[in-house]
Amino acid sequence: MGGVNNAIRDSVLFTTAESLINWSRSSALWPETFGIACCAIEMISAGCARYDLDRFGVVFRPSPRQSDVMIIAGTVTRKFAPVVRRLYDQMPEPRWVIAMGTCAISGGVYNTYAVVQGAETFVPVDVHVPGCPPRPEALMHGFLLLQEKIKRSRALAGTPLDRVAAS
């Protein structure tokens, strides 16, 4: 009997469904290959050999339908805002948005007739990464913050399981 007990102790983990789901979600954040302006180049740098975002489970995908994270990397203009919104709408839930760079956060230096003053005006932004452009390290930090946020979120909120847990 003791042998069976030990086997169970060594191979079975007790955890909550929520932390398991959050752990898996935060470990495979797939962003969209979607560069707009200068920040896109730093995003590429972050994805390439030296900074290597892949080791955080961050793998770029070419289509919004395969991705979880949208990095708004650059200036969003009025002409482009509907496109960004449509891409966001095409992403399956759960989905997150990183506003990379000053332009995406607030319009930056471009306070003009053509530029949207912050991506927050038309998509919900989870993490802001400041800089013009942010260094690849800053983008990594943004991803780590996003992982932190996901780990603390309530994945089961609103589902039947949530009601069971609450009763």
Partner: protein
């Protein structure tokens, strides 16, 4: 609308196809940003192409009218964001022409050296991005490795990786830092071997050759008619380089080859850029050899910031000078100037009209990418949709510069 190709399908093709309109972009991994091509396709054959641009139009020119001349430098950085030092240089030269001044010789060498570093970093990206668009992912990882070396060098000089804003009217912001020369010498030693690596990687790659050689040919007449410049023009056999033909700064003291090809296809445009990187390394080495000691900024308190930054804290005159220049800028005499340089993408010109105030009345950027993108209308034999990707990649437009 000018038509790219008007080809009927080969007779023997029994496939039943129909005409479709296809939107390539604005979000597409191989449009290099936010370009949208509306393509009229007959099956897989491209019948017409209509580029829609303006998705990154930020109003730089209008914004510049409300900025002082020194404040405009950061805006020029963000035009062609792959090579900011060249853009800074072009703008500084235009303003200096209006003012009738020249930067000290050492500053000119520093500017030219940085512009050539920028040229390498701009060309590097396209060296890797064109193969990546055509399916060879590996090349990009290699070129980014060398690009990081350039980023490190630029960071060492300016403190910023990308948007350096290092030029000032009448000089540069600071002198080269200690310990910089051995670093850049090391880079100059390593880099030519790395260029050979790229060539070995791609020159024998049958797929890459098949998809670029003989594809997207632009004839010399068309290239001139469409206003192409830079490597795109030289790949069509037109021997024109502003660095040699209208030498600015200290280019007349340097010895370099102007690379031309005669084929005018995608491969020629790619090869031109690879060869130009070699010449840029030669230019940088000559700059390092010839660079004299001396001031890095013109000695004109009405235009240039105090050279010795510590004086600002203890001298009233220096403080006033610094405050005055930061808050109000300097006045530029009435007049207009057009000054062009050979930027990595081609002829980058600034046309500035000054009304005598510290802000330009009108600033027009003659952006090379904007004009080069029109080269897509001069392409004679891009028949398939897949060829359009190669053509677009080889024309190397940077959308921020196209849209301004």
């Amino acid at each position: 609308m000018t038509e790219v190709t008007e080809l009927s399908r080969p007779e023997d093709e029994a496939l039943n196809t129909r005409e479709v309109l296809l939107n390539l972009g604005p979000q597409h991994p191989s449009t290099h940003g936010v370009l949208r091509l509306v393509l009229e396709l007959d099956g897989e054959y491209v019948k017409r192409v209509d580029p829609h641009i303006g998705y990154l139009h930020r109003g730089t020119e209008k914004l510049a009218e409300s900025f002082t001349y020194t404040q405009i430098f950061p805006l020029t950085d963000r035009l062609d964001y792959l090579c900011p030092p060249s853009n800074n240089l072009a703008f500084a030269l235009a303003v200096e022409k209006l003012l009738g001044i020249q930067a000290p010789i050492r500053a000119q060498y520093i500017r030219v050296m940085m512009a050539e570093l920028a040229r390498i970093s701009g060309h590097l990206l396209i060296t890797g991005a064109l193969p990546m668009d055509l399916g060879a992912m590996t090349a990009l990882l290699y070129v980014m490795r060398e690009r990081e070396m350039i980023m490190d060098l630029l960071e060492m000089i300016t403190g910023a990786r990308m948007h350096t804003s290092f030029c000032r009217v009448g000089g540069v912001r600071e002198d080269l830092p200690d310990g910089f020369l051995p670093k850049i010498r090391e880079f100059c030693d390593i880099f030519p071997n790395r260029i050979r690596d790229y060539e070995r990687l791609l020159e024998g790659n049958r797929v890459f050759l098949k998809r670029t050689q003989g594809i997207g040919v632009i004839s010399a007449e068309d290239a001139i008619d469409l206003g192409l410049s830079g490597p795109n023009l030289r790949a069509s056999g037109v021997d024109w380089d502003i660095r040699r033909d209208e030498p600015y700064e200290i280019y007349d003291r340097l010895d370099f080859k102007v690379i031309t090809r005669i084929e005018g296809d995608c491969y020629a445009r790619w090869l031109c850029r690879v060869e130009e990187m070699r010449e840029s390394i030669r230019i940088i080495e000559q700059c390092l050899d010839q660079m004299p000691e001396g001031p890095f900024q013109i000695d004109m308190p009405t235009i240039a910031f105090p050279v010795d930054k510590d004086r600002v804290h203890c001298s009233m005159e220096a403080l006033i000078q610094h405050f005055d220049l930061s808050a109000y800028g300097f006045k530029v005499p009435k007049g207009e100037v057009y000054s062009a340089i050979e930027a990595p993408k081609g002829e980058l010109g600034f046309y500035i009209i000054s009304d005598g105030s510290p802000k330009p009345f009108r600033m027009k950027v003659r952006a090379p990418s904007f004009v080069n993108l029109q080269g897509i209308f001069g392409v004679t034999n891009a028949r398939y949709l897949a060829d359009m990707i190669a053509v677009l990649g080889s024309l190397d437009p940077v959308m921020a510069e196209v849209d301004k």
